[in-house]
């Protein structure tokens, strides 16, 4: 089952300038999307039908002849008529700025004018496509824990236990990560204090750059393997291509902070259905 974003790049109307459409199509493919190109001279009806048949998430319309005000809204209207208005419709070409507000009122989500880097278009599509209802991804169950880097667990613990009154659940050493961990219960979730065991530990490197502080947020998920496949297909950068074993025998994988606006996320899937708190 492919979970790539599917895009229809279409040339409505009669204009034959398809350099832009072809370049965008190729760039979106390189960004990991599946792209269908209609070819020249498509009527709005042909475009709407192709989009539905191809089951795409997004239509990119390209027009350089000045007919955009007539042709783009017609595509959206036909999609709505056929109940396919969950498809994201964007446009590009020689389109004057003053036409863009009108196109937006007609359901064109965004218009990319000459000079737009293709990466901007790709980012926009990724952020705005409505994932299909058939998508298997469920949101994460809860925050599994918040990881906090400390130079010494012994030095940090009294604040958590004495000042905040949290309960220490236990300590564990994860050799693979060169780290010692202390677990503290807080409601449904936990705080993990992470102390590096040596200078090669990722936590030591983190602290070298940023000092002590919040290191990562862990999300409790199901189906971690499929989830990773899908995230990668959608162009989300990951640090681990496949899950590895972390504390409590959980399968874990980290996403790249650049994918999450500076936050390091860890996906955790615990053995069977047991939640982390019951796993003492």
């Amino acid at each position: 089952m492919s979970q790539k974003i599917r895009v229809l790049v279409a040339k409505p109307g009669l204009d034959g300038h398809d350099r832009g459409a072809l370049v965008v199509a190729q760039a979106l493919r390189d960004e990991g999307m599946e792209v269908v190109y209609t070819g020249l001279r498509q009527t709005p009806a042909q475009i709407a039908n192709a989009a539905i048949q191809e089951d795409v998430d997004c239509i990119g319309l390209s027009c350089l002849s000045g007919a955009h005000n007539e042709l783009f809204p017609e595509v959206v209207r036909l999609l709505r008529e056929q109940g396919a208005d969950d498809i994201l419709v964007i446009g590009g070409g020689v389109i004057p700025q003053e036409d863009i507000p009108y196109l937006k009122t007609q359901g064109i989500a965004e218009v990319f004018t000459p000079g737009t880097p293709t990466t901007v278009t790709a980012e926009y599509i990724r952020a705005h496509v409505k994932r299909k209802k058939t998508s298997f991804v469920q949101p994460p169950n809860k925050i599994a824990h918040i990881g906090i880097a400390v130079s010494s667990i012994d030095a940090a613990l009294p604040f958590y236990t004495e000042q905040l009154g949290l309960t220490l659940l236990g300590r564990e050493t994860v050799e693979s990560e060169q780290v010692q961990i202390a677990f503290l219960a807080i409601g449904e979730t936990r705080i993990e204090l992470l102390e590096p065991l040596g200078p090669t530990s990722p936590i030591a490197k983190f602290m070298e750059k940023r000092g002590e502080g919040i290191h990562h947020i862990a999300l409790d998920v199901d189906d971690i393997e499929e989830r990773l496949v899908q995230l990668k297909a959608n162009g989300v950068a990951v640090l681990n291509d496949t899950p590895k074993i972390g504390a409590h025998q959980a399968q874990i994988a980290f996403l790249h902070p650049k994918a999450a606006h500076g936050v390091l996320y860890e996906l955790c899937q615990y053995p069977e259905t047991k939640g982390e708190n019951e796993n003492e």
């Binding site: 398809d18 000045g66 003053e98 000459p114």
Partner: protein
Amino acid sequence: MSTQNFTEHYQKWQQQLKDRLEKSPERKSHFATSSEIEVDTVYVPETIDGAYMEKVGFPGEYPYTRGVQPNMYRGRLWTMRQYAGFGSAEETNQRFRYLLDQGQTGLSVAFDLPTQIGYDSDDPMATGEVGKVGVAIDSLEDMETLLAGIPLDKVSTSMTINAPASVLLAMYIAVGEKQGVPSHKLSGTVQNDILKEYIARGTYIYPPKPSMRLITDIFAYCAEHVPKWNTISISGYHIREAGSTAVQEVAFTLADGIAYVEAAIQAGLDIDRFAPQLSFFFNGHNHFFEEIAKFRAARRIWARMMRERYGAKNPKSWQFRVHTQTGGSTLTAQQPDNNIVRVTLQALAAVLGGTQSLHTNSRDEALALPTEESARIALRTQQIIAYESGVTDTVDPLAGSYYVEYLTDQIELKALEYMEKIEKMGGAVAAVEAGYMQREIHKQAYETQRKIESGEEVVVGMNSFKLENEPQPELLRVDPALGRKQKEKLQELRARRDNAAVEQTLSRLKAGAEGSDNLMPLILDCVRQYATIGEICGVLRSVFGEYRAI
């Protein structure tokens, strides 16, 4: 030949020029710099040797590296020909008259897309497109309006029309008849280059084979009846716009040229009968010296092809005559006034490359069709180069530059390699059908985009030297009611004309298309009866079928 002989040859060339100038004097009685340094027609090496003669030679002589005229712009400046057309025939007619009043010397008609693809304005396929990128022409009546008050025996007109070129040429001839100007006095150009439509521009109608027939029919008809007409403008412009390099532009254009020559020879035409009416159309792009070298290399390749390979005897058959338009795709939507500077450099390169006519783009073309003010600045740019810069005072001023001659040789070499490859695929038609040129161009276009996005290629104002919150310039708007008005006009015409006569001429055209007669006279008959472009192309569609891109 010895050096002595070459020197004699040069003296002979000078004498011929002198004789010629007695009959038609140059623009000025003498050319000099601000310091009163006398400027000569042409400068040559101190010793003229065989290598120079073979590669460079004298202007106006084989292999024409230095230009097709012996004294080039000293005699007559290039034709300043601004492509224009939008909305209705009335509006465009007004713009034409304005441009002629402003000192433009030739017309260049932009047609809207329905006209270019052979649809009437009321065809469902024309929705939203009527009058947008050019003027809407449905019938001879619109053409009469378009050219009203413009003397067709004095003004030359270039028409950017390809698949339906015969129809528009027929309409032009018919307007001439009504003005009392016989067809042999008409001068102008139809673009008529279908191969680059498949490759890069997209306004094709029929499949390659019948399209080539329509083209050779025009060659044959014009050789006899419209001898001053350029029957084709073999275009690298759109190939370059689609993303090709300068070398690919030269190679693909000349390969297309060869395909037309072969088709005409196969249709039984004598090379010297049609070749003098072939013309070319190049892009004026950014790399200043490469662009200059490109023109010089193309002239040399074409001259050699025509003389050595096809045995053309008439020197006019050897001449690569070229129209240039500055590169539209180099214009930025950001800080559009910067485009004036880009256009100036590109136009200057075309002039130093020896173009016969020139269109300079307007600064706002990345945003919309040009306003009257922008179009005027674009024309003024040419006038400044022509009248103020002094570059027109001597022929091919960059000849002998080590760099420019090297680039000229390299472009020739690399273009010939490409052309050989296309030859091996079975020629340009086969290469187009296999999608070869299309793929090569697309690869290059993507590469360029990558370079721009990575910043490796700097585009001033777009990926570097940017400006926040740019003011929005005034743009030209086409009257949104135009489509409706044009439809109404067309319906009135259909009610008014002699429909029986229309039917008759259309069915004769159908029979002709099924056979092998020259279609030009039959199309001319249809046009005279006010058959519409959609009706005429519809008949041909029914016989020839339509091309579907791979």
